[in-house]
Amino acid sequence: MTVIDFARAFFGDSAHWHGEDGIPHRVVQHLLYSAEALAIAAAIGLPVGLLTGHHRRGGNTLALVATAARALPTFGLLVLMFTWLGFGLVPVMIPLVALAVPPVLVTAYEAVRSVDPPPVDAARGMGMSETRILLQVELPVALPLVLSGLRTAAVQVVSTATIAAYVSFGGLGRYIIDGLAQKDYEKVVGGATLVVGLALATLAVFWAVARIAVSPGVRRSH
């Protein structure tokens, strides 16, 4: 049997389509964890990245923080937090947030810092406050890059939320972890296919958001 046969068998079995362990429930669970982790990471990374980018300093410190966070092994951190804190949402969120913050933080900083100075100076000359310069001049120009940082983070969170199943959590990782334990290869392949699909859907969502949110004038120059 090939991978495609396994996937077909998995999706063809109607027992996989409802209940606690059904595909719709697992997909929703997976999306909820991912969205929560991304929201926390954005709440930390965006303000810090945008502000440091606006003031054009602190880049080296940010790079250090990002490197340290990137070096933390996500899976190891998950197991460690689980052994320390026990079952709960916090031990799952800590490693996912640590994974998502560096790309959000670093790209937000880089994006704002590399905005062309003339329009910023013009805005300042017109008497705009620093907050308005950041929100109405720098952010719209930096938006494509800021979104690409968020996209990288989102895709990584969606694909990595799989391992939450190892510490008895739900989500699509359940199929992979349970399937491996039960030597049910059909389940494993089905779960893996679903996660890949979800990650690709995330890419598509961010592509659509960029189409809608980025101003046409900025888009043309990219």
Partner: protein, 217 residues
């Protein structure tokens, strides 16, 4: 903490042995990714139309979760080291190709023209002018690839204890020795930071013309 470095015998390695194994499993794929991505990137630079499809494929491949990737490979390579190393090589490729393309493309046309005027052929021009100037961009890519590779190896534990230092996480649970999990996380993070610092050092050595104090990414 007693027994911090007492590794259970089922792992068949000392702590240093696990460190060596971890570095091997993490860095060989990065090396393979680098060797593969140089020609691919060069193709993208030479033929501009080639870049868009390559970029699309690599973005999609990067979206494949490591655990799913490992699991799908079990059918072909079994629960072996290769099952962990192949996906890591693919991820490295995905990070490195855009980095190298950007680096090589950032070489100013005047510099290339000067090289040609000095009588450098395409091969020597590539090796002696384009590649050295692209070194900072390549190293930036290598840093991301190496650090994430070191972090991802641990997940290999889930497919038949192929996770090197990650295997400590399993033992921490079955023997109720949380210090082993601490050991795994701290050692892996330290390895990541160490390799990152080494790559920065390599960049400084390879690009003596760059200003010593500069914003690093």
């Amino acid at each position: 903490m007693t027994g911090f470095f007492d590794i259970p015998s089922d792992l068949q390695h000392s702590w240093l042995g696990l460190v060596g194994l971890h570095l091997r499993e993490a860095l060989l794929p990065v090396l393979a990714g680098l060797v593969l991505s140089l020609p691919v990137a060069q193709l993208c630079v030479r033929f501009r139309w080639f870049y868009a499809p390559v970029f699309g494929v690599t973005t999609v491949l990067y979206a494949v979760p490591s655990l799913a990737f490992f699991v799908l490979l079990i059918d072909y390579t079994g629960m072996t080291e290769s099952t962990v190393m192949i996906p890591l090589a693919v991820y490295s490729l995905v990070v490195l190709v855009p980095a190298i393309v950007d680096g090589v493309r950032s070489v100013p046309p005047e510099t290339l023209a000067a090289a040609t005027a000095m009588g450098l052929g395409p091969v020597r021009r590539y090796l002696q002018v384009q590649l050295p100037i692209a070194v900072p961009a390549i190293i930036a890519g290598l840093r991301v690839a190496a650090v994430s590779s070191i972090s991802l190896v641990s997940i290999g534990m889930l497919i038949g204890n192929q996770g090197a230092l990650g295997n400590l996480l399993n033992d921490a649970q079955i023997y109720h020795r949380p210090e082993l999990a601490v050991n795994s996380v701290v050692t892996t993070a330290a390895l990541g930071i160490l390799v990152d610092a080494l790559l920065v050092l390599v960049r400084t050595l390879l690009t003596p013309w760059m200003p010593r104090k500069g914003a690093s990414r």
